[in-house]
Symmetry: C2
Subunit: 137 residues, 2 copies
């Protein structure tokens, strides 16, 4: 297992900051849920545990998606792009992906010369983070 | 038009390097085609021209997607995430998105402890770039 994961990591071209962009997509609907960042350890944990783990740049810490909110992303498949510098996670999203309580983070659309909010929260952020501490990427 | 675009830009949080990650998704199928980078001018041109324009980090130049290969991405809608630091382009992809000739760039999947190529080129790269110069992000 560990050797295999090391082989997986060997093909990923992490940037000068040790990170790669990671896109999370709902595996069956194709909905793009969010974009976050991963370092080597985040990829390792994601593959080992079968759930998305990111690197929070603001908190400078590993961030097991859903560890506070319960909104876990179970890994369906990990994919790598042609240059090896971006990963795509096909996931099964429990609940909502966005810290605002929306299903996905891309809820602003440029329409008629303005940013329009095109999705409403499905759950109040206060219920996602009872302690008041919201994660940030 | 210009004022509107300036308002659009005002909500986007470009990074210290002046760039934001940009995810291109086929608007009707949900297929994630590629990830690239945009600076302010790339977003401006994308909105003004209705086709995806990125910033090539390696060439340090604006990169109108398809200008060499003809594989244009017509903009269907621009979306912005909760933090304003990632954009999602819903596009109509002409032909293929990947410089390898594949429909999308995420053609390697981690399966059975190895990276498996899960899509074949639909067109030879030599036909995409007759001059032999392939773009890079």
């Amino acid at each position: 297992m560990t050797d295999a994961i090391e082989r997986a990591l060997g093909e990923i071209n992490f940037g000068p900051d040790g990170l790669v962009p990671a896109i999370a997509q709902q595996h069956d609907t194709g909905e793009v849920l969010m974009m976050a960042w991963m370092n080597r350890e985040a990829v390792r944990l994601t593959l080992a545990e079968g759930r998305a783990c990111y690197w929070s740049r603001t908190r400078r810490a590993l961030w097991r998606k859903g560890e506070t909110s319960g909104q876990v992303q179970r890994l369906h498949e990990l994919r790598l792009d042609c240059d090896g510098d971006t990963v795509l996670l096909l996931v099964e999203q429990t609940g909502v992906a966005c810290h605002t309580g929306r299903r996905n983070c891309f809820f602003r659309a440029w329409r008629d010369a303005a940013w329009k909010v095109i999705a409403e929260p499905q759950i109040a952020p206060g219920r996602l983070y009872p302690g008041g501490v919201e994660p940030a990427d």
